[in-house]
């Protein structure tokens, strides 16, 4: 494995990043020897990665290289597919989510996920979509739900557009709005980590930049791991970038480092669009 994660380079270049004053960066996720399979097919190979709290990590790589599969192991969604298995460790705040006693349901409330295509529940209003996770957790108190809806829709930069039509179906919104609704829905359960799998790939440029802006703001509260096909997006919003190729994590480093001076030849070729 050639994982180029050097704490040293992290602290030096972090000097001019947003959290420069916050020199005490705490590791929130530690991934060790992670493998994911579809039956016999080895889709993610021996990945090791550390993610600090309140950073945005971008996952890049050619399509089919296992980014989605990898991200879906981090909230134990991968195993929901028939025949799909995982080995290795994912330690979230000191707790291995793959330990024998770990409960996937409660893990998923701590590691939220936004999907490639917006997926609001068609049977629910905007309001009910936002609080769907809270209701699953058994929270029914009207005042709590209302407060959460307003807070999360504001965080998702959607409040002004929908505050007068919370009773309308979630599906009545545009694609970009639906995706922000899904972000609000994810935030409502207060997960410390949010996974996003190409959240803007189905959206127009304006919705895309809204969501990018929102991710940058969310950083103060959550850790974001985002898969993206778009290099500019990765360099705009992420603190660290991981390059995947054929199921392997080839290089993982400061985003600037990856884009300016990658250590691996394959990273260099992918970034410069010379991949064959």
């Amino acid at each position: 494995m050639q994982v180029k994660t050097s704490k040293a380079s992290k602290t030096t270049t972090a000097a001019n990043s947003l959290e420069s004053d916050n020199s005490e960066s705490k590791t929130i996720l530690t991934i060790r020897d992670l493998n994911a399979y579809f039956g016999d097919f080895h889709a993610v190979k021996n990945v090791n990665m550390d993610v600090d709290a309140n950073e945005v990590v971008a996952l890049i790589g050619p399509s089919g290289c296992g980014k989605s599969t990898y991200i879906r192991t981090l909230n134990r969604l991968h195993e929901e597919i028939d025949g799909a298995t995982v080995s290795g460790e994912v330690v979230l705040n000191g707790e291995n989510i793959y330990a024998g006693h770990a409960d996937p349901v409660s893990i998923r409330t701590k590691v939220g996920m936004v999907f490639q295509k917006p997926n609001p529940f068609p049977s629910m209003t905007i309001f009910d979509n936002v609080v769907a996770g809270l209701k699953l957790a058994g929270i029914r108190k009207r005042s709590v739900l209302e407060e959460t809806v307003e807070r999360c829709l504001k965080q998702a930069a959607l409040w002004d557009e929908v505050k007068d039509k919370l009773k309308e179906p979630g599906m009545s919104l545009s694609g970009g709005q639906q995706q922000r609704l899904c972000i609000a829905r994810t935030l409502a359960v207060n997960p410390p980590v949010v996974l996003m799998d190409e959240p803007t790939s189905a959206l127009d440029p304006i919705s895309t930049s809204k969501i990018e802006e929102l991710i940058t703001e969310l950083k103060t509260q959550v850790t974001v791991i985002i898969v993206t096909h778009n290099m500019q997006q990765a360099s705009r919003i992420s603190d660290r970038t991981a390059f995947f190729y054929l199921g392997e994590l080839i290089e993982y480093d400061e985003t600037k480092q990856i884009f300016m001076d990658p250590k691996e030849d394959r990273t260099e070729r992918y970034i410069s669009g010379r991949f064959g």
Partner: protein
């Protein structure tokens, strides 16, 4: 579909004579096709209208003779020239209701099992079996009902219900085997494959993305099914139930064979009864005068309207559900 496209091909080849203005020719062929479809659509409407008119004409002597009383009295005695269809309307509605009561939970449960829970290797064979069951002719169900179901109901189900819930008016009277309950059960068995097969298609058409969305929010498997599958598929389920109900309302042979055929209204489902379809089937061959025939036609007319009303209500439910979710 296939014959449609053949027609379209023929029409296209008829009009593509030379190379000039090919686009316009296709356009013209499209128009021909459009009018063809329109004619078929109008034809179906006309057929439907003529059916109603025919039924009404055939029933007119009875309706002229007995007026609305025909539909709200329950004396049916051709010997005494007394004709009132209420008992049959009651029989149809109640037996179908019993069938739904039993069948809907079973069917939806089976469909959920097939799409959400069943191991992969079991899905295809069970699914195939369900579809086979839907294709069995109803007279076969009827025979099975007479020889196996009716004795079973008489010896086990009726005693148990009678002992446990005999204080309710629904479960009183001697265990006869044949009767409303047995008819309801056999209808349930007949419509379950239909409702299951359609519900399964409905659930299958729900994208996994919604299921994963629910799981990612911390839903358990059952909560995921409730939030992402059942709630999303509810209008489809109602559609499936309508189709099953349509079969139950009109089912003739199997019901005629096990319901006991007595034109009486009783709250107890142990009692023999009769439905609109069963009385037509039973008495048509023996009807010997005009008023007899007209009365049976009037029962058919009533069956048509009861089906229409129930279907309208069900469509309304679907429409409400859909307008609530899609906006």
């Amino acid at each position: 579909m296939d014959s449609f496209s053949k027609i379209q091909m023929t029409v296209l080849s008829m009009f593509s004579t030379n190379g000039r203005g090919r686009r316009r020719e296709i356009h013209f062929a499209d128009r021909v096709f459009y009018y063809l479809l329109k004619a078929i659509g109008v034809g179906i409407l006309l057929l439907c209208a003529s059916l109603i008119i025919f039924l009404y004409k055939a029933a007119e002597p009875a309706i002229a003779e007995f007026g609305w009383d025909f539909f709200i009295t329950n004396e049916w005695d051709p010997e005494a020239q007394e004709y009132g269809a209420l008992a049959f309307i009651w029989g149809t509605v109640v037996s179908s209701f019993i069938a739904l009561l039993i069948s809907v939970p079973v069917s939806v449960g089976a469909a959920l099992f097939l799409t959400e829970l069943s191991p992969k290797w079991l899905k295809a064979p069970v699914g195939f079996l369900v579809e086979m069951l839907a294709a069995i002719p109803s007279v076969v169900y009827g025979l099975w009902g007479i020889f196996l179901l009716a004795p079973f109901v008489r010896d086990y189900i009726q005693p148990i219900l009678g002992n446990g819930f005999g204080f309710l008016p629904f479960f009183q009277g001697p265990p006869l085997g044949v009767g409303m309950l047995t008819a309801g059960i056999i209808l349930a068995i007949m419509i379950t494959p239909t409702i299951t097969a359609i519900s399964r298609e409905v659930f299958r058409s729900i994208p996994d993305l919604l299921r994963e969305g629910a799981l990612a929010l911390g839903a358990t498997r059952w909560e995921m099914i409730k939030v992402a599958v059942l709630k999303t598929g509810v209008s489809g389920i109602v559609g499936a139930v309508i189709l099953g109900l349509g079969r139950a309302l009109g089912e003739t042979m199997a019901v005629a064979m096990v319901i006991g055929n007595r034109a009486e209204i009783s709250l107890s489902v142990f009692e023999p009864a009769a439905t609109m379809a069963s009385v037509i089937a039973n008495e048509y061959a023996e009807a010997n005068d005009d008023i007899d025939l007209a009365s049976l036609a009037a029962v058919g007319f009533a069956l048509f309207f009861v089906s229409l009303i129930i279907n309208t209500i069900a469509r309304f439910i679907i429409w409400r559900v859909e307008s609530k979710s899609k906006g």
